[in-house]
Amino acid sequence: MPFSREYIVKRLILLVFVVLGVLFITFIITRLIPARPELLWAGPHATIEQIEKARKQLHLDKPVYVQFFLYLQDFIMGNWGISWRTKSPVFTDVLSTLTATLELVIVAFFIAFIVGVLTGVIAALKKYSWIDDFIRIVTVIGASIPVFWLALIVQLVFGNWLGILPSAKRVDEWIVIVTGFKPITGFYLIDSIIQGNLAVFVDALKRIILPALVLSTYPFCLSARMTRAVMIEVFSEQHVKSLIAWGLPERTILFKYSLKNTIVPVIASLGLSFGYTIVGAFMVELVFVWPGIGFYAAMSLLSFDYPAVIGCVITVAIFYCIINTVVDLIHSIIDPRVRL
């Protein structure tokens, strides 16, 4: 059986340690760097009692190592502090924004994966031709583009000048009220299908296209380049070369022997670009008024809402670690050679 329980357990234990590391660093940044963290935590207009309360909440009256353990405990219990801006617990705020971001990121990755693999295959088949060069330049540009600027320009051109697609919000309030749409899972595309609400589905789909396209730029470039590299490598392998020599049709070789091999590295590259993409979502959501965690974080940053910013950062970092672990596991299941 190529499937090792031992490896999975090992990887999960490692994940726990990595998450602990993330929490440790945020602990240092938020509790040890600021001169008086309770002031940042209590927020503006805080009275002496409120500051004292914040001191208690942050356990600043205890020794540092005790503070760290209590900090871990608070984190696990969901005591992430109260946002100054929204006056509600950061934990619930963050939870309520997660699905919007996930929907956006999943659509973006879906686009990136499909288009990226296709582009990569074309580049590999036509390697060293002008098409390959062109694709290479496009992917380099795509990986260098400031995502916030691209978002602004795309919004301006498609939303405003051409008026083809709506360029803000997740769904139109009017349609929601008229059709009585009520989110269940929080993924509007899925919810609207479950409820058979075509109007909301079409509207939500139209609204997700532009931000998802912008967000997919970076993972698209990465997966295209990865596909190309792997394909070229596979084609140069001896057994594939001999297949070509035997005169097997190129299409058979492509689908039967090469494309399959690209899936794993492409998934790995998408996993790598997840971190970049989710931080890019901070800016894309800000521009497209997308009510996800990125928008919440960007707004909190603008109003210096410290507990909220920290909550978002920890959530995103942990998500990133989990995604990396999952990618590694998939990798190891499909390709046991990785397990070292």
């Binding site: 008026g163 009220i177 009585g180 210096f304």
Partner: protein
């Protein structure tokens, strides 16, 4: 081996996909009817019978999120919907300088201005069904005073509230005051039902206890607030009442849209009906759009630059005067507000009683240099001044950049620091203890709680107002003048104004702050919104009185 693993994963994926599709399909099939018309966010009595399309819906985009929902203590953005859900005793229209009766039909005061009697409207019910009586007035205002937060200070003059009968209530004051203005305050003057729980928690869960034309049906302060018409509101049944329109919207949504650019796009595309903020340079273009309607009205919000009067070299009045003469007021209005503001004359904004036209500083760099030289700085200041403004406010940013650029011409270097309002305020607070550590210049908005010059002059310049006198200005003569003036407001208006004039003259000479501009507000709405102009009242900033709108859709 490797191939086997791959096929296993593939099989697993296929099974999952089939399961999901089946699940979704079964769920969909098992539903009795296509669930298209079941309004769940809005609780209409018989949703299936009222075709929801005929409902008049108006969406208003607000730049800032809502704050709290407690009518006694709220002192911030929630005014936007509180004005539609709750009612005061009186409304005030400053442009025509008249009071509009709300829950009180008539009122009178004793000659010395210390006893005020309000005769209440009959046949009013709160949203919970409780009839409105004098008891509600007494209990509401007493709760506000007891909690002592937000705008509770407006009731300071009140000694006690007496119920004469169910529809008559008398206020006995400690000292003479204009209680009619106070009763029409934009904060802290709401009357609510005495039969509801009325705890801060209860309110902030999204409950309302009001009597106004709209009910609160969804309270999601960060994203949207949905109001629905209260059919039993007394105003709908009073055809002659000026604060009601037969074609008022059935549903009014406050949608939080946090930037002006997006608000503009949404209103142009017709996705929202009214935009609170748009980039001002676009006003002319929007005016030309036949689908839109641009309302331009004066407001009582003004922008000032508070000067740290306790920190050298700004403790020298000559330096402060030099600064006042080195600020290009006209250019600031043109650039920061695209002309949609008026150069300020004194800290009391244009259109308010107590505003006078004689307090503008002349922009004159020669004069500024002369004053600076007289103060002992012929080549400019050797110290860099720190100017703080609220990050993200584009008007403040442009104003600050212009001030910095202009002051550099007379040899004053300015370091501009964008900060969050909270950070700014905390820094400025420290100035009372240690003015050296605080900022030098502070770009600052003010707007009145209720319509009196005292609100401006006391809060920003009286030494008793530690929270907002961020010039750290102390001047006993000025303080005596405004205290006397406010006590005369309810008795002898012209004498009060005379004293306010004298007080502002002192500020003009002393320059604890430089008033920059008085804002002119812009609202952009869809053309089918009748009475949009009437729905904007400068005494209640950011509010759209939805009940007077006439939706011609």
């Amino acid at each position: 081996m490797y191939k086997k693993a791959l096929s296993k994963v593939l099989v697993a994926i296929i099974i999952i996909v089939i399961a999901v599709v089946l699940g979704v399909g079964l769920y969909y099939v098992s539903l009795p009817t296509p669930p298209t018309v079941t309004p769940t966010t809005i609780t209409t009595p018989t949703p299936s019978q009222t075709p929801s399309v005929t409902k008049k819906l108006v969406i208003y985009a607000s730049l800032s999120e809502m704050t709290t929902a407690d009518p006694s203590t709220e002192f911030s953005n929630s005014i936007l919907w509180l004005c539609l859900v709750y009612e005061p005793l009186l409304w005030y229209d400053p442009l025509e300088n008249k009071f509009i009766p709300a829950l009180a039909e008539r009122w009178e005061s004793s000659k010395d201005g210390t006893v005020w009697t309000f005769y209440l409207r009959k046949g009013v019910v709160f949203h919970d069904g409780t009839p409105f009586t004098a008891e509600a007035v007494k209990k509401s205002i007493e709760r506000t005073i007891e909690l002592g937060q937000g705008a509770a200070f407006i009731w300071d003059p009140v000694e006690k509230i007496e119920i004469v009968d169910d529809y008559t209530v008398t206020f006995i004051l400690k000292y003479p005051a204009a209680l009619d203005s106070i009763a029409a305050s934009s904060y802290g003057a709401w009357i609510f039902s005495p039969r509801t729980p009325n705890t801060p928690e209860w309110f902030n869960q999204g409950n309302d206890a009001g009597s106004g034309p709209y009910k609160l049906v969804k309270w999601d302060p960060e994203n949207e607030v949905i109001l629905e018409k209260f059919e039993d509101w007394w105003g709908w049944k009073l055809p002659s009442y000026e604060m009601a329109s037969p074609k008022a919207p059935d549903i009014f949504i406050v949608k939080i849209v946090k930037d002006a650019v997006t608000q503009e796009r949404l209103v142009v595309a017709g996705e929202i009906d009214i935009a609170e903020y748009i980039p001002l340079e676009d006003v002319d273009r929007l005016k030309a759009d036949p689908n839109l309607k641009v309302v331009i009205k004066p407001s009582f919000q003004n922008l000032l630059m508070l000067i740290n009067t306790k920190k050298p070299p700004l403790d020298n009045v000559l330096v402060r005067r030099a600064i006042a003469h080195a600020i290009p007021y006209e250019d600031i209005v043109k650039i920061a507000r695209s002309g949609l503001a008026k150069v300020a004359s004194g800290p009391v904004p244009t259109g308010m009683p107590g505003h006078f036209e004689d307090f503008r500083y002349r922009y004159d760099l020669e004069e500024a240099r002369r004053l600076l030289a007289e103060a002992g700085y012929p080549t400019g200041l050797d110290k860099t001044l720190v100017l703080v403004y609220t990050a993200g406010d584009v008007y403040e940013q442009r104003t600050s950049e212009l001030i910095a650029a202009s002051l550099s011409k007379i040899g004053i270097k300015v370091d501009i620091r964008p900060m969050s309002w909270e950070e700014q305020w905390a820094l400025a607070q420290s100035g009372w203890e240690n003015p050296e550590m605080a900022q030098d210049l502070f770009i600052f908005y003010w707007w009145p709680t209720y319509i009196t010059p005292f609100d401006f002059l006391y809060n920003m310049f009286h030494s008793g107002s530690k929270a907002f006198n961020l010039c750290y200005y102390e001047n006993p003569e000025f303080e005596r003048l405004i205290e006397e003036a406010v006590s005369l407001e309810g008795v002898d208006k012209s004498k009060a104004l005379e004293l306010y004039y004298k007080a502002q003259k002192i500020l003009y000479e002393d320059v604890p702050a430089v008033p920059l501009w008085d804002m002119i507000e812009v609202r952009v709405g869809r053309a089918y919104l009748g009475n949009l102009e009437k729905a904007v009242n400068p005494a209640y900033p950011t509010v759209i009185f939805a009940q007077v709108l006439s939706v011609e859709k």
